[in-house]
């Protein structure tokens, strides 16, 4: 029981970390013309992440 709870907490932390990283890069993408060097994946609607 304790082991399973620990595992769930670990997975939640991992999932939160991935989500935070993704959000950071989406924010960069929303507030700039391009955020990769020479490749631009198709941009979804990122208006809610804009600073302006």
């Amino acid at each position: 029981m304790k082991q399973s709870k620990k595992e769930t907490v670990k997975q939640t932390i991992l999932s939160d970390t991935i989500a935070n990283i993704a959000l950071t890069f989406s924010k960069i993408g929303a507030n700039s013309k391009c955020c990769c060097f020479y490749h631009q994946p198709e941009k979804p609607d990122l208006k809610k992440l804009r600073k302006f």
């Binding site: 997975q11 939640t12 999932s15 939160d16 991935i18 989500a19 990283i21 993704a22 959000l23 950071t24 890069f25 989406s26 924010k27 960069i28 993408g29 507030n31 700039s32 013309k33 391009c34 955020c35 990769c36 060097f37 020479y38 490749h39 631009q40 994946p41 198709e42 941009k43 979804p44 609607d45 990122l46 992440l49 804009r50 600073k51 302006f52």
Partner: protein, 192 residues
């Protein structure tokens, strides 16, 4: 990369961290993030091999904001982007060490290329019909970055730092040529 980003996004949705509606936003973030990290990692290794890590750091600090706010040509596939980025970075690092320019040449070219990039970026945004808010924001950022890079170039000139002065000239040249290619692409109506 797209496949991996898709898997990871599905994973965080399954854990309930984000909702299904945000799938596109998070997948985009993960894809661009992973692509950039991989590109930086490979470029860093090349820079270490060439014994030019400081120059590489300077390149990233200057090139990234210029590229992010001025824009430029893009490749259709990640692999071609990766090869192109690594080639460009390697060439710049080698060229800036091999060729020694007089400080005034580096400064003059940097200023001209910056001015050219600033003008081209404006033309491209007008052609792309960028919305008003985005246009104003990007223009403000472009002006700030152009002034900042200009001041740095001037400092290199005053203090006779010819290696970084030449590096700055090459960086502005890459940004300018990338913008020229994007403008040509737009004029000819070629899809990226």
């Amino acid at each position: 990369m797209e496949y991996l980003a898709d898997k990871l996004t599905r994973y965080i949705i399954s854990k309930g961290t984000i909702s299904k509606e945000d799938y596109g936003v998070y997948k985009y973030g993960l894809q661009t993030g992973m692509e950039m990290i991989l590109c930086m990692a490979i470029s860093s290794l090349i820079a270490i091999y060439l014994k030019s890590f400081m120059e590489f750091l300077f390149f990233v600090i200057v090139f990234f904001p210029l590229r992010a706010y001025f824009g430029g040509i893009h490749m259709k596939h990640f692999l071609s982007c990766l090869i192109c980025s690594c080639t460009v970075i390697t060439c710049v690092l080698i060229l800036s060490k091999k060729f020694v320019f007089a400080n005034w040449i580096s400064l003059t070219f940097t200023i001209f290329l910056l001015a050219g990039s600033y003008a081209l970026a404006l033309g491209i945004m007008k052609k792309q019909k960028t919305d008003r808010d985005e246009y104003c924001f990007l223009r403000k950022q472009q002006k700030r970055i152009a002034i900042g890079v200009g001041v740095v170039a001037l400092c290199f000139y005053i203090f006779h730092i010819s290696l970084f002065g030449a590096l700055l000239m090459f960086i502005t040249f890459i940004v300018f040529s990338s913008l020229v290619l994007e403008a040509l692409q737009l004029l000819m109506g070629i899809e990226r």
